[in-house]
């Protein structure tokens, strides 16, 4: 028997190559982590994958995640790979795990806990903190990585490194701005894909994150460094107000034009009470593109569903200050005491009226007490009727009965108008993002947006074609982010591939799993209809075999002119 001609051959699939052009039947051969041939491949592969009846597409790229911490203990960023995702972008929203001095670790973890709703104990038990510099952080990730990572550098981290605690109180001096520029330059040379900043987020004290203390001149100076590398600036704008979003679009456009950089903002939501906001923002984006600026909005595919219990804080309660402060800063005993005390309970119930009629449709999704288990799946309105009380009172009673471990689901909170969301997703200047993968792990499953794009907006509403949806998740995102050897199926490019059934691909049911360091839980979704995911030529996950070791890369990786210590870490 002759030796295999190729490392891997994906045979007989319908190739959707990422360009948006019509699908075609072909084999894909892979050697040395790169695509070797696309066509009728005669030679045998050491590994053969039968893709008959399936689509073969470039691996999906998720540009808005918070997998920073998870990647330290989970090299696949589970379950992202299972959904066909081969590249993730962590470090969004001004927060990354480096560069970070040891004395600021507690501060950073507090911000991740507050903003991204990630458990403190997971950081304590899951992270070894073997780094301070950005190159050392990348070296730590490279030790065990089965998905590609294109990391952003957090603006708040640059400020903390250079300014210390003053980063949270004031603008930077010219010398401090210059130091931040030098630090960012080192990070980009070592392999960062860009810089992230935030105009909305609050830290663990409910005070603005450090990036919000920067004046426009500081951001301009950092954008100038991005321009040296042609790298991305990501921002979180005030997504609740279209006029503020438009102002941020204009700011980004000026930075893009002045420094020749791509910029992106996320999220852009369709809110039920705003009939024109996203459309007005997109009109401004179109105008700025016509000037030659690059301001790429990110739109998520899934509607906003929020799960919550009263054991951990939830952003759902942000508009109810007494509730939010109680859950955010109180212990479980404090919460139970407030729910039990008649006077405090009356005040809480009164404040909850601000979110009426939300409570009527909130569903009990988890209860462990025998008397309550039959109520799982019912709305608070239904439960309240059975108990002869109000929905909010029923929610409080259930929480006390379950020792705060009753879980509730507020579904379809927004971004659920398929016609408007579909039109946004199909817009040529929108790319699919804002999944928030790895964050908000007790509020919702931030996984499966890719499958949902196909089930809802390709097979369901027809807002996008199969080829158009694949292009959005692959070639478009790769080009926008400057990942030029990713996102398409063509000889010579990196062999990041996903094989899926176009009639079945979807996100699975949201489930509650116990796989977070520190005895922690989270909500996740598995995939449906995905056969396998290939990262740099190696199967990283398959429906038959589960997760397998692959060799993920840091993208774009060290750049020309990189410091020698950065290259040495490669």
């Amino acid at each position: 028997m002759t030796a295999p001609a190729h490392d891997l051959v994906v045979r007989g699939g319908l190739v959707v190559d990422g360009t948006g052009l019509p699908a075609f039947r072909a084999d894909v051969a892979v050697d040395g982590g790169r695509i070797a041939a696309v066509g009728a491949v005669r030679g045998r592969g050491r590994t053969e994958i039968d893709a008959t009846g399936q689509v073969v597409a470039p691996g999906f790229i998720d540009p808005h995640t918070h997998f920073d911490a998870q990647l330290v203990w989970d090299p696949w960023a589970k379950p992202a790979v299972e959904h066909g995702v081969t590249t993730v972008v962590p470090g969004n929203c001004s927060l990354s795990l480096a560069p970070l001095r040891a004395e600021h670790r507690a501060k950073l973890v507090g911000m991740f806990n507050q903003i991204e709703e990630m458990p403190l104990l997971a950081f304590e038990r899951g992270i070894d903190w073997t780094w301070e510099s950005f190159p050392d952080y990348l070296a730590r990730l490279r030790r065990h990585l089965s998905i590609n990572v294109a990391p952003l550098v957090g603006h708040s981290l640059l400020r903390l490194w250079v300014m210390g605690d003053a980063a949270m109180e004031r603008t930077a001096t010219p010398a401090e701005v210059a130091a931040m520029q030098a630090l960012l330059r080192d990070c980009l040379a070592a392999g960062a894909v860009g810089l992230s900043t935030s105009y909305v987020d609050m830290d663990e004290r409910l005070q603005p994150v450090p990036s919000r203390l920067a004046d426009p001149a500081e951001v301009d100076a950092l954008a100038a460094v991005l321009g040296e590398f042609g790298r991305m600036l990501q921002i979180v704008p005030e997504f609740y107000d279209a006029d503020l979003m438009i102002a941020r679009v204009d700011q980004l456009a000026e930075l893009s034009l002045r420094h020749a950089i791509p910029t992106t903002f996320s999220p852009l939501f369709v809110a039920p009470d705003d009939r024109t906001g996203p459309e007005r923002v997109m009109a401004r984006v179109d105008e700025q593109f016509a000037r030659g600026a690059r301001v790429w909005p990110q739109v998520q595919t899934r509607p906003i569903d929020i799960s919550f219990s009263f054991a951990v804080p939830s952003l759902l309660f942000f508009r109810m200050p007494s509730w939010y402060r109680l859950i955010r800063f109180g212990t479980p005993e404090d919460v139970k005491a407030a729910f039990t005390d008649p006077e405090r309970r009356r005040a809480l119930v009164a404040e909850a009226q601000i979110l009426e009629p939300l409570w009527l449709k909130v569903v009990l999704r988890r209860a462990l007490q025998p008397d309550n288990r039959p109520l799982v799946g019912l709305t608070l309105a239904q439960i309240a009727e059975r108990r002869g009380t109000t929905p909010v009172e029923a929610m409080i009673d259930l929480s006390l009965e379950e020792d705060l471990d009753a879980h509730f689901l507020a579904a379809d909170m927004g971004h659920n108008d398929d016609a408007r969301v579909g039109a946004l997703l199909a817009h040529p200047r929108v790319h699919v993002g804002a999944s928030d993968g790895g964050a908000h792990i007790l509020s919702f499953a931030t996984y499966g947006d890719t499958g949902y794009l196909f089930s809802r907006f390709v097979r369901g509403t027809g807002a996008l074609s199969l080829e158009g949806a694949v292009k959005k998740l692959t070639a478009d995102t790769a080009a926008i982010w400057g990942l030029f050897d990713r996102g398409r199926i063509a000889p010579g490019l990196a062999a990041d591939l996903v094989v899926f059934d176009p009639d079945r691909i979807d996100r699975g049911e949201e489930v509650y799993v116990h796989d977070v360091p520190g005895d922690g839980w989270r909500y996740v979704r598995g995939s449906r209809g995905v056969a396998c995911t290939i990262v740099n030529g190696t199967v990283a996950w398959s429906a038959e075999g589960g997760y397998a070791e692959a060799r993920g890369a840091i993208l774009p990786g060290p750049q020309p002119g990189a410091a020698t210590w950065a290259l040495a870490a490669e």
Partner: protein, 77 residues
């Protein structure tokens, strides 16, 4: 280059500026108290912000250097 359509006008705060400082330069024809009141009503995202902690150099001024401050009401639809 394509022209941009008018959008709601805004300014960035200068170093250390609060509402009164911005009112003096952005709405110079109005009495200061009235100008401040208008700015606050057009910028609730800033005016209603949680106060800085006691002892902070930001105490007493809700305006952040990164803020967008509108200097006119929302434009008609």
């Amino acid at each position: 280059m394509a022209d941009l359509r008018p959008v709601r006008r805004w300014v960035s705060p200068g170093p250390g500026e609060g509402f009164a400082d911005i009112a003096r330069r952005a709405l110079p024809d109005l009495p200061e108290a009235e100008a401040v009141g208008r700015l606050q009503s057009w910028n609730l995202h800033v005016f209603l912000r949680a106060p800085a902690p006691p002892g902070s150099p930001r105490a007493g001024n809700p305006v952040l250097p990164s803020d967008v401050i509108f200097v006119e009401p929302p434009l008609p639809a």
